[in-house]
Subunit: 360 residues, 2 copies
Amino acid sequence: MSLLMHTLHVDLQERSYPVYIGRDVLSDPQLLARHVSGPQVVVVSNDTVAPLYMDKLRTALGERSLLTEVILPDGEAYKTLDTLASIFDQVMAAGHNRTTTFVALGGGVVGDITGFAAACYQRGVNFVQVPTTLLAQVDSSVGGKTAVNHPMGKNMIGAFYQPRAVLIDTNSLQTLPRRELAAGLAEVIKYGLICDEPFYRWLQEQLPKLLAREEAALAEAIERSCANKAQVVAADEREGGLRAILNLGHTFGHAIETRQGYGQWLHGEAVAVGMLLAVELSARRGLVPAAEVAALRELLLAAGLPVQPPPDMSPEIFIELMGRDKKVVDGRLRLILLAALGEACIVDDVTPGELQALLT
Amino acid sequence: MSLLMHTLHVDLQERSYPVYIGRDVLSDPQLLARHVSGPQVVVVSNDTVAPLYMDKLRTALGERSLLTEVILPDGEAYKTLDTLASIFDQVMAAGHNRTTTFVALGGGVVGDITGFAAACYQRGVNFVQVPTTLLAQVDSSVGGKTAVNHPMGKNMIGAFYQPRAVLIDTNSLQTLPRRELAAGLAEVIKYGLICDEPFYRWLQEQLPKLLAREEAALAEAIERSCANKAQVVAADEREGGLRAILNLGHTFGHAIETRQGYGQWLHGEAVAVGMLLAVELSARRGLVPAAEVAALRELLLAAGLPVQPPPDMSPEIFIELMGRDKKVVDGRLRLILLAALGEACIVDDVTPGELQALLT
């Protein structure tokens, strides 16, 4: 057992589950096996992650009567209904029944599509998340949102489906490409902005350690991010209200991702630009000091994140794509802004004129 | 308001919903509109049903800011992930947001695929069932099971997703093809066999009136079927145990459907043969008198239903296909038998030898 392991609990009554965070949690001989109840397992991964971690996962699973490994091509461009169908084909051909467990081994794309597959296969089977990117560890693996993309909009087809457990092995961050580490930091910074000012101040100080991949700093950042997310999700599992604050910057960000084609910009990169726009708009409305906009820009730049939308995205294109967002209700765009640093708010009175001015 | 309308309630706490049964419920100016809360509606139907009922449904919906009609080709062969994708394409292109309501207008195929689409679109939108076949009215529209087929197995990909309301207009049975009426009666007879002996005796007497499509008899048969189903579903929404009894004859039946290719045999026809096999096996085990097997055969024949599997289906093929059933758990086939007429039981100790003898 790793001495550095921390356990969080996501509190959702009969759907509650633990999140294990630490070095080598994947090497613990009991941890994963305890949450995989039957003899049948489907591991879904991608061709980047599988060569690095599949052996370790296989060892952690122990003896199984039926183990099927589904290896997807790497990238957001494959988070589609077609890929989902190919997962079902392989799982059906191998003969998995409804006692099987789907394990997602990879980043956000693998987690989202595997979770959705688990939600639908035989109307729902067990599901365990083993996220290997920082973004998946602090964001998509906790909270039960699963989905695939539609060519006309991100995450448009999916389900709320909670995992039985989340295993976050911080070791996996040592092999993560620099660009993906930065993308994950965008979501980490988000938690500070929306609900945890002390954490935001800590991040401003500790960023160099995180970029240097210091184990203790990374574990701390992941734990505080997951704790913040777990709290929001426990209060509003199906996004009736509060949960929407987790989408700070995402309406702008999704527009960028949809426009550029999935996979050109990483999700965290698009969110970074989107958060800066949302905080800029908050400042224009007098909600946060203008100095915080400059400070956030500096933090994002230091993390290696973009701070400008793609040059060819006109305000008109932005506004049209944002109109397709899932948060549009009866023609009104709902946006997440900051009421103060460390406190998000949801507004539905942003005018096209304000957006035009912001995006010009 | 129709004087003949009856209302049942499916009791599932916050997911409870009414089932309206009667002549002209679709002509009631408030009934449907009351359960379609927002201004956006997607109606999914097929090219057989839409020409008969779409006008009526449009009138019942009243003014809507966005109404999209998705017309599928008729038949079980189209209950696929590909068809599901085409629904999402049309709904996305029309610009529906998460306040939209999906309405299923048609038989079991339309209801199952529309319900699954509603479960997944933007992670879940409102859903109303308007079943137009007897089979859908007494079976698939109530209870929240939604799915599409996989080439290797029926209903393998789906969700538990409850509608907001079910509107059963008994008028629609007047235009239903004879063969589909019979297929629906198979499921009606099932309720008598598994949990309602008085209803079974009533059916033995009233069958001629049902076949003559007498309004009062049909309404009674539908109401008692739905009441039985609602009770079972309320006790076990996600099929942890009891709900499985609704699958009397279905493991044999699904094997026939899978083998013959979806749509060659109607679902109710395959279930009729399957029920007879299950009751025959119950009699061989001494659970019900052999005379009841003969009586059931007579009832099914009188209803115009098949009582023999396809001639080219060997016991070996049956057993292999039944092994893929969702009710197979850790290699053990669970079958629904009758402990007595009007009382189902679940067994997991049927031997290959017994099946071989039964199917030979």
